[in-house]
Structure formats: C-alpha cells, structure tokens
Amino acid sequence: MLGELLNPYQLQIICFILINIILGLSIYVTLSSGQLSLGSAGFMGIGAYTSALLTINFDVPIFIGVIAGALAAGILGLIVGIPSLRLQGVYLAIATLGFGEVIRVFFVNWESVTKGAIGISGIPNIGRELFATFRDAGFDPDMIGLKNNQFVYLLVLIILLIINILLIWFFIRQNKSRVGRAFAAIKMDEKAAEAMGINITYYKVLSFTQGAVLAGFAGGLFAHVMSYISPADFAYNRAIDILIFAIFGGSEVIWGAVFGAVFMTILPEALRFISEYRYMIYGIILIILMAYRPQGIIDINVLNWFKKFKKQKGGAVHDSGDQKHN
C-alpha cells in the first residue's frame, strides 16, 4: 500500500520543492537586511560545481562535498559582498546580476575543469548512496512494500525535509533575536540603525554571505540529486525563478519565501499544458504584483490573520519567546 501512495514522480517534485525552499530562503535572507541580490544563481552554481568536482575527482563523501560547496559560495559571497556594501538597491541588484553572468561565462569557458557547456554527468547521487548503505546492511525495500526507486526518492526527500526544517528553524530563531532586529532596522532606515549603534557593514555582509551560503548549499544538494549539471542550470532564468519565489511568495516574512517556493514549483507542474508560457505568466505576475501588492502574497497581516484563526480554534500558544506576545 505504501508503494501505491509514493509515486516517484511526485516524490521527485517534492525534492525540487525542498531545494527551491532553500533557494527562496537565500534571497529572503539578503532581502531582510534591505539588499536585493540577483546573484543567487551564480552562488548556486558555485556550490554545485564545487561539490560535483570534489566528489567525482577526489572521492570526497557527498555531505562533505555539499558543505564545501556551501563554504566556497560563502567565501565568494564575502568577496563580492564587502565591496558591494556601498551600492544601494538598484546598483547592488545589477552588480550581483553581472556577477552571476560572469560566473556562468566562466563555467562555460573553463572547459578543462568544468567540461564547459556539456556539463558534468555521473555525479554521485545522495539517494543511491544511501540506498547502497541500506542494502549493505541487509535491508530490502521490498520489506516495506516499496520499489527500489521509490525508496531512493523517499530517502532523499526525508533528508531534504530534515535539512529544510533545520534551516527554517535557524532563520526564524535568528529573526527574533538581536541579529534579526539589526537586519530589520538596517532595512527600514540604515542611517538611523547606524546611529543606534548597529555596525551596518558587519550585518549587511553577514546577511549577504548567509544568502550566498544557502544558495551554494542548495546548489550542492541539487548536483547530488540530479547527478548532472551544466552552466544552463545556473543562468539568468534560474535567477529569475529564485527571485519570483521571494517576491511572489512574500519578501518580508520567511514564510513568504517558503510559500513562494512551494507554489512556484508546483504551479508549472500542475499547469504542464501552459509550461511553454511559464515565463510570460511570471512576467505578468511581477508587473501586477509590483503595482498592487509589492510585498508579495504572504505578509505580516496574513500571518497575523492565521495566528488569530489558530487561537480561535483552541488557543495554541507558541513557544516563541518573542515580544509579539502579550
């Protein structure tokens, strides 16, 4: 019966959703300090290529490869982020867009390392490696009524889910703390934040680098889930996709990015028949959103409405320890 419930195609979609949530978080985190970065695709690519190359060429275990990829993206994020500090809004967006394109051009041209436009295939796959471990321990998916590939996808899904939960928890905690207040203050009024003793340089670079690390991390995971990457995976289209997660879903609250990633991953699948017109629809969505609801679908009012709704249904109290409570 379990086997009937778990359609491998749907499992795969959920895996994409979970990776996209991490990407949505990456752009949200930089937005939360008032910086719009359009370079997430570039950082994602760095994470993907770093991890792929390490695991293939140096037999590095997958989870180390992914972490190395995230760190590489983070270091690059630092390098890009520090000088970019003085750039306000639009200029930063363009600089990061330019950066993303430079990265892609390097991926395409540095053929000796990256194999150029052909891409890298045969990347070790998280699911299959785990499956092999289970197999060696004597476990057979048949035992719980699953086919091999269902089991593989299920494993990947569970790992991604755990990662997602940890990351969302991390950032919710950070938001409700001194660090989160500093980010928000910088976003709302940088000069006033500075006058209140906040080291804007430090916090802006911190938020930018966190975004880069997240995108790199997602890239590494992407590489080991798809087992094949090419420069086209990290081009302008990808940057737009990621941007839409946050802008559509809700750029001011973390659940906005989560919602946006979920919705915008499912939508093209559910509306397969119009997938050709996907970007047309994205374009129209962006135009209409900016005109009528620039903060995205989920904003603080929507969240408060949900909280009230939950309270009416039996008064669940969160253990959030934050001051939004009386």
Partner: protein, 257 residues
Amino acid sequence: MILEIKNITKNFGGISALTDVSFSINKGEIFGLIGPNGAGKTTMFNMITNMFAPTSGEIIFDGEQITGIKPYQITDKGICRTFQNIRLFPQMNVLENIMVGGHSRTHSGVLKSVLRTKSQRNEETKLRGIARDLMELVGLSNYDEVIAENLSYGQQRRLEIARAMASNPKLLLLDEPAAGMNETETESLFDLIKKVQARGVTVLIIEHDMPLVMKLCDRITVLNFGKKLAEGTPEEIQNNQTVIEAYLGSEEDDDIA
C-alpha cells in the same frame, strides 16, 4: 567637561556651514543649542555623531578624541541622538524599536541567538525589562505591540527618546524634540527631559521653542550663520543684544536654510 567642541569648521563645497565654533558642556547639564534656521545646529549634531567629519577642529568626549570614529562606535562610547525628522523604524512595534536602541549594550551573535544560550536569554530578558522601564518613563506603558508608524506624532517623538535612552548614553542629543507639539505636550516633554537629567544623563538640545529652552537649559550657546554668537545662562542670553538682533533680523528674511 563631558563634551568639548574645539574650533569646529565645516565647509560643504563653497558653503561654510560652521566657522570656528567652540563650546563645552559639563556633565549633568542640560545644554541648549539655538539659533535661526540654517545656523548650523543640525550640522553640529551630525558631526558629533560622526555622520561626517569636520573640515577642521576637534570634538572631545569624556576626554577622548572622537572625530573620525564610525557612527556606530559613537553610540558605544555613550552618545545617542534623536532626529529632527523622526527616524523611527516604522514597521516595528514600540518594544522592538526601543530594543534596537539597546543594540550596543548587548552582544549576542548569530550562534548564541539561534541556540538561545542562557546568556542570550538573560540578555534578552534584561533588554526587555529596560525597554519596558523606558516605555514607562516616556509615558508609553503597555504600548508594546503598537506599530511605530501608527503612533501619534507626539508619541513618536517620545518613542524616539526612549529608543535613544536604551543605549544607556552619557550624552543625549535631542534634535528639536518639541517641534509640532502643543502646550500640554511640551509640558510633558519638559518633565521627561528633567527626568532624563535626573538619571544622570547629560542633554544637548536643539530647539526653537524659546520658553521651553529658557526654562529647561542650564546653559545655552547661540549660533548664527555658522558662527557662535553668544554663550551663557538663559538670563544672559535673553538679555544679549546681538542675540535679540539676530532673531529679529532673521524674522524679516525668509527662513532659507
């Protein structure tokens, strides 16, 4: 002397905003900085908080040269300010605004915050306590969750003062706190600033409300066209001929900054 302004000159391109201004403030005083519009008062504030550097001259706070250190470090040293145009964090609530003011007195970084270590939790509780105490001080008790931009004008001004006080300053700079206030509000403001002084904080205030200034300040410096015109007690200033002329004269010209 807690603050020494020594021969400060500030030029913007061809315009001289301040020329060779000197004065000192004693610890525990309420010191007034007055003068017609465009006299250079807010420029002086901006330099004390290091938003930009003086063209020449020195600013010495608590015995230490502070010209040239970063603005956020100024708050560390014990100087904090409010703004002429009210610069609260509009979408944060009252409690959060004040807690941001306390940023420089707290230390938890990313790791401690995410793991909610004991020291971090204690720090947050303490900060919340300080914030609530300050809310009471400025008359905004129980306004915890009110969003700043929904407050009335007078409430916003008082919130700004509470926020600056959260940094536990030795010197508080108030930039036209009474602007737009009616008589009752100005009375409460007077009481508030006196209470701030009673807590041991030195206050430097820019104001145009003359009755308030004369009642409140221990000493006053008058600026006009970027130069220091006079300095003294409220009585001395009220009877100073050049000051009277400067104010009467400037009423005839349009107030051009």
